[in-house]
């Protein structure tokens, strides 16, 4: 005679933008993550549930979803930490179109990533010698602080301005642009300032810091964006920003 299993009540979003929450009951386990819960539902209760994951150990960022209203990596979220009154509500990441159930269309996220020009450009006259960049150098330190982003989309989902403006590039794209800007070897640093000053650029950030609040690797895009604001302002005052 075993004691009755404790069950979690789980509400999961089904459909796309039009849809509804569907309730499931999942057995509670010790050390259970939200990803474990979603996986259990898909394997045992409803094979049609669509969701994304890959590494399941917190290094790829694929499993990001909205859990009880906040964007998180579900593989790194213990149920015991977030469950409210024995209930979990799981939805796809906010601020992105929904393909189906818990799967979002990340295309706009990556389009904006590219639009912010957060990548290295060698330029017309790349130098032959190795660039002497000391780890203590101001720019290198700034780049190091921003470089660990793995494009999981959690900050984009948490950002209030992204939810208010379609054209806003968003914290991840701008954070990467700041890291790229601080690569002193880049052949077209002014080009980055131009990219992040366009409509929807860094100047739309209101320093809410919802991004920093939710980043699973503790990055601070607000800080990076402040750096871009200062750099672009300086360039504008010098007449260098076109």
């Amino acid at each position: 005679m075993s004691a009755p299993e404790k069950m979690l009540k789980v509400d999961i979003w089904r459909g796309n933008e039009k849809g509804e929450y569907q309730s499931f009951e999942v057995p509670e386990r010790d050390n259970q993550t939200v990803l474990d819960v979603v996986t259990y539902i898909q394997r045992h209760l409803d094979a049609a549930l669509a969701y994304r994951f890959a590494c399941r150990v917190g290094v790829c960022g694929s499993c990001a979803m909205t859990v009880n209203g906040r964007p998180r990596w579900t593989c790194r979220t213990h149920v015991s930490r977030v469950v409210k009154g024995g209930k979990l509500t799981i939805a796809p990441l906010q601020n992105l179109p929904v393909i189906r159930d818990l799967v979002t269309d990340m295309a706009q996220f990556f389009d904006k990533w590219n639009a912010a020009r957060g990548r290295f450009v060698a330029g017309d006259n790349p130098k032959d010698e190795l660039a002497p960049v000391s780890p203590e150098q101001k720019e290198r330190t700034a780049a190091s602080a921003a470089i660990e982003c793995i494009n999981c989309g959690v900050c984009y989902s948490a950002c209030d301005v992204v939810s208010w403006r379609d054209d806003y590039l968003g914290p991840a794209a701008l954070n990467r642009a700041w890291a790229a800007y601080n690569d002193v070897r880049d052949g077209d640093r002014p080009g980055i300032l131009k990219a992040i000053s366009q409509s929807g650029g860094c100047h739309n950030c209101h320093t809410h810091q919802s991004c920093a609040e939710h980043c699973p690797v503790s990055l601070n895009p607000t800080f990076s964006i402040a750096g871009l604001k200062r750099a672009s302002l300086k360039a504008k005052l010098k007449g260098e920003l076109k």
Binding site: D160, T207, R230
Partner: protein, 117 residues
Amino acid sequence: MSVSGITRASRAHPGFVASLIHRASGLALAVFLPLHFYALGLALESETFTGFIAWSDQPLVKISEGLMVSALAVHFAGGLRLLAVEFFGLTRAQALWIALALAFALGVGILFLMRAF
């Protein structure tokens, strides 16, 4: 922006609350300022101005004036928090403390000095 949007769980942190207060106080000031300028412009006709000053002795007007001064103080403190993060690279904790301390100081000062009633 929907009403339920404001209460999203992802917004339950000090930075958002501070920004919301900053925006609300700014909007209040933007609504108040034209009225404030118009009222002062009434001094062109001293009769109307004296009449206006008498009208403004009503408690409701005094309360509104008090709210507006508070709105200015709150908006000012929040603005300094923003400038601290954007231009002086302060961390969110440091900047928040500055804003809270300043808002508190201004609040106490205003309450103490304002004997409008």
